[in-house]
C-alpha cells in the first residue's frame, strides 16, 4: 500500500481508510542534539520490528558550550541527516519504493533542527508520492513500549528528560491525558544545571549519578519540593537553589563535598519521584479502573539507576509493574518516530506536505499551561 494517486496533497492532517496490512516506515528525528533515522515495520496484528536504527549524537559539538546551542544543532543536522537515512535504508535492506510512508518529528523541539528533518521527509514523500506523517516527538516516546514490549493500552507514562517531566495517561492512539508535569525545570535540566554549577562535564546527568555513588546522601538536608498528596506536579528550581546556597557557603569545594552534594541532590530527587509515581499510579488506576497498572518510562533520566529503582519501588507498592524500554530507545531516536508514524498510518492518520514545524506542541492539548514554568514556559 502507500502510493498516492493525487497530484498534490495539501490541506493539513487528513483521515483516510485504516490500513489492514503490514506497513514499513522511515522515521526521522532531529528535534534536539541527536540526528536519527530508522526503518520500522508494523505487522497487521500490531507487532513491531526495528529493521534499522541509526543515531548520530552531536554531544561533542555542544560540550564546549555546556548545553545544546540551537543554531549549532541545526547546522549539524542538515550536514548529517541524508547520509544517516542512506545508512538506515541500507542496513534495513529496503529501497524508498518499498516504504509505506515517511514519518518525521514535527515538534516539539528546537525549531531549526525540526525543520531540517521535516523538509527532508517532505522531499522524500514528494519524490515517491508517499504519505507523510508529522509526528509529535512526545507521542514517539509515549508509544515506544508498544514497539518494544507490545504493551497494551492503557498505561501510565512518565516522561523524564532534559525538556520534560510529566505523567501521561495513555489510553489509546491519540488519547493522552497529562495528569502531572513540572512547573519549572525539567528533571534532566535540574541534573545538568547542578553539574554545571559544580563544574562537572556536560552532559551533567551521568556525571552527577556517578559521583553520587561515592557521596553521603544524608550530609545535606535538601528540600523535597511539592511532595504533597494533592499534587502530581513537580518543581525542581527550589531544589537547585538550595543546593547552590549550600555549595556557595562551603567554597572552595573539595571532592568529598562535591560527591556529597551530588548524593544529597539525587536522594532528594528519588524521594520525590518515588512519592509522585506511587500517587500517579493510584490516580491512573482510579481513572481507568485498571487494578494492576503498568508504568512506562521514557527520556534520558530514565537511564539513571537510582531513579529507575525508585520507580520500581513505587510500582511494587501498588501492585503494578514498570516497563523500561532499552536505553537507546529511551533517549531520542528515529525508531520511535517511525513506530508512531506506523501506528498513525495504520489508523489512517496522515499529514499534508504543508505540515508545520512546531517548537511547542503539547501531547495533551486540553492540559492547562502551568504558570511560572521555566524561562520560556513548559514545552508541553
Amino acid at each position: 500500500m502507500g502510493r498516492e494517486d493525487g497530484k498534490f496533497r495539501m490541506g493539513g492532517a487528513a483521515r483516510r481508510q485504516p490500513t489492514s496490512g503490514r506497513v514499513l516506515i522511515l522515521g526521522i528525528e532531529t528535534s534536539c542534539d541527536e540526528t536519527a533515522a530508522a526503518v520500522v515495520e508494523r505487522e497487521a496484528d500490531g507487532r513491531g520490528r526495528i529493521l534499522a536504527d541509526v543515531v548520530h549524537s552531536q554531544l561533542a559539538d555542544h560540550a564546549p558550550y555546556g548545553g545544546v546551542v540551537p543554531e549549532i544543532a541545526a547546522r549539524a543536522h542538515v550536514e548529517i541527516l541524508d547520509h544517516l537515512i542512506e545508512r538506515a535504508m541500507r542496513e534495513a535492506g529496503v529501497g524508498f519504493t518499498d516504504l509505506s510512508g515517511v514519518a518525521a518529528t514535527a515538534g516539539p523541539g528546537l525549531i531549526g533542527g525540526v525543520i531540517v528533518g521535516l523538509m527532508t521527509a517532505k522531499a522524500i514523500a514528494d519524490v515517491h508520492r508517499l504519505p507523510l506523517i508529522a509526528v509529535n516527538h512526545l507521542e514517539g516516546h509515549a508509544l515506544t513500549p508498544r514497539l518494544t514490549d507490545s504493551v497494551a493500552f492503557p498505561y501510565l507514562l512518565l516522561l523524564v528528560s532534559g525538556g520534560h517531566t510529566q505523567f501521561v495517561a495513555v489510553e489509546g492512539l491519540g488519547r493522552y491525558t497529562r495528569i502531572g508535569t513540572t512547573i519549572d525545570d525539567a528533571l534532566g535540566e535540574a541534573f545538568d544545571k547542578t553539574a554545571k554549577l559544580l563544574g562537572l562535564p556536560y552532559p551533567g546527568g551521568p556525571a552527577v549519578e556517578r559521583l553520587a555513588r561515592d557521596g553521603d546522601p544524608a550530609r545535606f538536608d535538601l528540600p523535597r519540593p511539592l511532595m504533597r498528596r494533592d499534587s502530581l506536579d513537580f518543581s525542581f528550581s527550589g531544589l537547585k537553589t538550595a543546593l547552590r546556597l549550600e555549595a556557595e557557603a562551603l567554597q572552595p569545594l573539595d571532592d568529598r563535598t562535591i560527591a556529597d552534594l551530588c548524593a544529597s541532590f539525587q536522594a532528594a530527587v528519588t524521594d520525590v519521584i518515588r512519592f509522585k509515581a506511587k500517587l500517579a499510579l493510584k490516580r491512573f488506576g482510579e481513572l481507568t479502573g485498571v487494578a494492576k497498572p503498568t508504568l512506562v518510562t521514557a527520556g534520558g533520566v530514565a537511564a539513571n539507576k537510582a531513579v529507575a529503582a525508585a520507580l520500581s519501588e513505587a510500582a511494587a507498592d501498588v501492585g503494578g509493574r514498570v516497563v523500561v524500554p532499552p536505553g537507546e530507545l529511551c533517549t531520542d531516536n528515529g525508531a520511535m518516530i517511525a513506530w508512531a508514524g506506523a501506528e498513525r498510518l495504520a489508523a489512517g492518520l496522515v499529514d499534508g506536505l504543508d505540515a508545520q514545524a512546531r517548537a511547542r506542541w503539547p501531547l495533551d492539548p486540553d492540559a492547562a499551561p502551568k504558570l511560572g514554568s521555566g524561562q520560556l514556559g513548559a514545552k508541553a
Binding site: 543554531e71 547546522r75 525543520i115 523538509m119 517532505k122 522531499a123 563544574g199 562537572l200
Partner: protein
C-alpha cells in the same frame, strides 16, 4: 537536460524547471514572496512548477538550490529539501549562491564593470562578494560593515547590486548602484546551475549552506564555584 532549482534563502519562496535542449533553454518558474513560512510553503511551489512544466521528479536530471547567504533557517529549508530530493531520486544536486546570482544580474545591467553583490545582513553589516566584469569572483563571500565593504568597492571601481546597496552607498556616495534587487530571480539560479549539473556526477557532494556568519554561541566560562582541586574531578568523571 532538465533541472529543478529551488530558492528559499531570502524573501522569495521560488522554484524553476529549466529544460536545455539543442542549446536553447526553456524556464518555467513559480515565485511567491512570503518573507516567512518557507518550510510550509515550499512543496506547494515545487509541485506547481513541476505541473506547469509538465514533468515529474522522475524526468529530472538533477536539482539545484540557493545555499545563501541569507536567512539561516530559509537556507536550511531549501538545502534540506533538495538534499532529500537528491537522496530519494538518486540524482545529483548542485549549489548556487545568492551573491553570485545577484552579480550575474548586475552584469546584465552594467556589463563592463566589476560587480559588488551586497545583501543586508542586519546588525549594520552586509554579506558581500566582488566579481570581475567576466563574472569571476575576486574573493570569497564575507560579512562586514557597510564602511569596510564601501572602501573595497571603491578600490576596485565596482557597481553595487542587492538589498545592501543603499547601506554601502550611504557609506560612500560615489559608489554607483545598479539595482537594489531584494533577491535574485529563480531563473538566474537555474541558468547558473545548468552547466554545473552537466558537470556533476554520482559522487558530487550534496549542497551545503553558505552561512558566512558563524553560529551565535559562546563557550561556557569557568565553573561558578571555587574548587580546591580544579579540573581533577571533572577529568575523572569525564574519563
Amino acid at each position: 537536460m532538465i533541472l529543478l532549482a529551488v530558492d528559499t534563502a531570502l524573501d522569495a519562496c521560488a522554484a524553476a524547471v529549466a529544460t536545455e535542449r539543442d542549446g536553447t533553454v526553456e524556464i518555467h518558474a513559480v515565485r511567491d514572496v512570503i518573507g516567512r513560512g518557507h518550510a510550509e510553503h515550499l512543496m506547494r511551489v515545487v509541485d506547481e512548477v513541476l505541473a506547469y512544466a509538465g514533468v515529474g521528479h522522475v524526468d529530472l536530471d538533477g536539482y539545484a538550490v540557493s545555499v545563501g547567504p541569507g536567512s539561516f533557517t530559509g537556507i536550511r529549508v531549501g538545502v534540506a529539501a533538495v538534499r532529500g530530493f537528491a537522496l530519494a531520486s538518486g540524482r545529483p544536486a548542485v549549489s548556487v549562491t545568492t551573491l553570485e546570482a545577484l552579480a550575474s544580474e548586475g552584469r546584465d545591467i552594467r556589463p563592463e564593470r566589476p560587480i559588488l553583490a551586497v545583501i543586508d545582513a542586519r546588525k549594520n553589516e552586509v554579506y558581500a562578494q566582488a566579481f570581475d566584469a567576466g563574472g569571476r569572483p575576486l574573493g570569497p563571500a564575507t560579512v562586514a560593515s557597510a564602511g569596510v565593504v564601501a572602501r573595497h568597492g571603491a578600490e576596485i571601481g565596482a557597481v553595487l547590486i542587492g538589498s545592501g546597496a543603499p547601506l554601502v552607498a550611504a557609506a560612500d556616495p560615489t559608489l554607483e548602484i545598479a539595482a537594489t534587487t531584494p533577491f535574485p530571480a529563480i531563473d538566474t539560479h537555474a541558468l547558473l546551475a545548468l552547466p554545473r549539473l552537466a558537470a556533476a556526477g554520482p559522487h558530487t557532494p550534496r549542497p551545503s549552506p553558505l552561512y558566512v556568519r558563524p553560529a551565535d554561541a559562546k563557550p561556557q566560562g569557568a565553573a561558578r564555584l571555587a574548587r580546591l582541586t580544579p579540573g581533577g574531578l571533572a577529568a575523572e568523571v569525564g574519563s
